[in-house]
């Protein structure tokens, strides 16, 4: 976990690679191409890049039209404006017809930082997950982002891939095999399991190391695809370790924690503790300060593990 790189930087690179490989790849952005890194594609393939201005609803509808014309549109802006502002366009124009549109927002979660609560999307996973036909992914690092974007380009249908603003430590090596809908055990363990997504997986790996010193064997299962959820790996973790802590840079309502709780309530009732944003908006601050403020540090995860173990 030495290399630090933002998932949005990996996105910009792989998108340009895909542009060279497949002329059907087109990209739309809403005046944030420098921030979302679609500018890398724009510079190389200006005729296939469409700046739609600050008008996200039309951007999503236009992408649906491009898909209807046989193109593979990637749509980027900040997560709150993609999932939030254009939710109904995503539902009606993209998901309902099962249009081959890839919605890849950056700046998900509270690590957006100083811009504050208006720009920090803590609900997007929940509202995207609720839409039929939608696949929802949150990669852990730059390596997985590259693989997820490539998988999305191959997959036929709507995809939402949430990326982040800041550099995050690498969890995976280049030979990691990625598959949409499959979770992966990152750290083996027997006493309890962290089920995590996005940048929280690296936090959970650190938490597992903290717990090891106390003699607690914590498993870490990374879930890149929140929908469709890899229920098998979660039920297996519940059966084998008997206690689950979910963690996400998102509201504890309706995101990964919600999905895991739904799964286990029906398939294998198990004590669950959800770590995430507790039904509140974000706020201004430095990303690392906000991770502490909202209780998303390895220490917070270790506390959650100790708590859930008392209910085992």
């Amino acid at each position: 976990m030495s290399n630090m790189k933002a998932t949005r930087d990996a996105y910009g690179e792989v998108l340009a690679e895909l542009g060279a490989e497949n002329k059907d790849i087109v990209v739309l952005d809403a005046d944030l191409s420098g921030s979302t890194k679609t500018a890398v594609f724009r510079k190389q393939f200006p005729e296939r890049f469409f700046n739609m201005g600050i008008a996200e609803a039309n951007m999503v509808g236009t992408a649906a039209g491009l898909a209807a014309a046989g193109k593979i549109p990637f749509v980027s802006t900040f997560a709150i404006f993609a999932a939030g502002r254009a939710w109904e366009q995503i539902r009606q124009s993209v998901a309902y017809p099962k249009a081959n549109v890839k919605i890849v927002p950056t700046h998900g979660g509270i690590t957006v930082g100083e811009d504050g609560g208006s720009h920090q999307s803590v609900e997007d996973i929940a509202i995207m997950r609720a839409i039929p036909n939608m696949t929802v992914m949150v990669p852990a690092d730059a390596v997985e982002t590259r693989k997820a974007i490539r998988a999305a380009a191959e997959y036929k249908g709507p995809v939402y891939i949430r990326l982040g603003r800041n550099k995050v430590p690498s969890v995976f090596s280049d030979d990691y095999y990625f598959e949409i809908g499959k979770g992966i055990e990152v750290v083996p363990g027997t006493d309890m399991t962290f089920v995590t997504t996005g940048l929280m997986t690296a936090q959970a790996v650190s938490a597992a190391n903290l717990l090891k010193q106390e003699g607690i064997s914590a498993r870490v299962v990374h879930i890149a695809t929140i929908k469709p959820l890899d229920q098998d790996i979660i039920v297996k973790a519940a059966e084998e370790t008997g206690a689950i802590v979910t963690a996400e840079e998102h509201s504890i309502i309706g995101g990964l924690g919600g999905a895991v709780a739904e799964c286990l309530a029906e398939k294998h009732p198990t004590p669950v503790k959800r770590v995430g944003i507790h039904d509140r908006f974000g706020t201004s601050g430095k990303a690392e300060e906000l991770m502490k403020y909202f209780g998303l540090t390895p220490e917070d995860l270790a506390d959650a593990a100790r708590e859930v173990l008392t209910r085992k």
């Binding site: 039309n58 236009t62 039209g65 491009l66 046989g70 309902y96």
Partner: protein, 276 residues
């Protein structure tokens, strides 16, 4: 265009009106007024202007039709059925469970339907996207999108209007069915959208204003739109909600209401049929 050809299109529109009324009488659910106001334009597009192939709905060289005012789906369905995209009998299953004729157009299930519409204000954006995609492929196909006047209240329409002009989409032609009524009453009173043509011109479009029930004028406007280069064209068509059936005409109450048995008979008499 020759008068006989216009007369043939007018007769087709009359037949399709009959088909709409029968379909909606059978379904007892759907939008009568807006289907009848838009049918002359739909007829001109499907039976004169558009290149398309009912035997191969996905034929690459086809022109694209988007009914952004998706509640007028019966108008598109009767045109598709007349062309043989699917059997005419299917019309009698409109809005039924298991039918491929959904309440609003659904590209997943209905041959000849390009995109899903019905949530107002989204069709023009999709038309823009198709027009951009066709241009990237150097295709000669054109894109036609029909909106309602009430629909213009949706902000997304104007985002799309801005983008179509910005990208100089001269392979795109929008048509506005100005029947002046929406569910809650007169468009002018609910939320005024006038002046429509001037708004589009201010956004960088070429705008034509016609009588949306004058077949010769519709055909002439569609031909003219094809000659306008460097900008999209909008045809702003003044229409009558419920046109062709006197008891339905200009009544907001017939927006989402279907004919009962008695009204069907009256309608068929109005439309020159003497059958039941």
């Amino acid at each position: 265009m020759q008068k006989e050809k216009i007369a043939v299109l007018e007769e087709m529109a009359r037949n399709l009106r009959v088909s709409i009324v029968k379909t909606l009488h059978k379904s007892q659910s759907g939008h009568t007024g807006g289907s009848l106001s838009v049918i002359d334009m739909v007829t001109a597009l499907y039976f004169h202007k558009m290149r398309h192939n009912p035997a191969d709905p996905k034929w690459e060289g086809r022109d694209r039709f988007i009914l952004s005012k998706g509640h007028a789906a019966p108008a598109q369905y009767v045109a598709l059925a007349e062309h043989g995209y699917f059997p005419r009998e299917d019309l009698m299953m409109l809005r039924r469970l298991g039918s491929h004729l959904q309440g609003h157009p659904d590209s997943k299930v209905t041959p000849g339907v390009e995109v899903c519409t019905g949530s107002l204000g989204q069709g023009l954006s999709m038309a823009n996207g198709i027009a951009l995609g066709l241009r990237l492929d150097a295709g000669k196909s054109r894109v036609y999108a029909i909106m309602g006047d009430g629909e213009l209240q949706e902000g997304q329409v104007w985002e799309a209007a801005m983008a179509a002009a910005h990208y100089r989409l001269d392979n795109l032609c929008a048509l506005v069915d100005v029947n002046m009524l929406q569910i809650d009453g007169e468009v002018e009173k609910v939320m005024n959208v006038a002046p429509i043509a001037d708004k589009f011109r201010a956004f960088g479009w070429h705008a034509l204003e016609i009588d949306g029930h004058d077949m010769a004028a519709i055909v002439a406007a569609l031909d003219k739109a094809e000659d306008i280069k460097g900008k999209p064209t909008v045809i702003v068509a003044a229409t009558v909600k419920g046109k062709g059936v006197s008891i339905f005409e200009n009544k907001a109450s017939y927006h989402g209401v279907t004919p009962n048995d008695e009204e069907l008979n009256t309608a068929l008499i109005c439309l020159g049929c003497f059958e039941d």
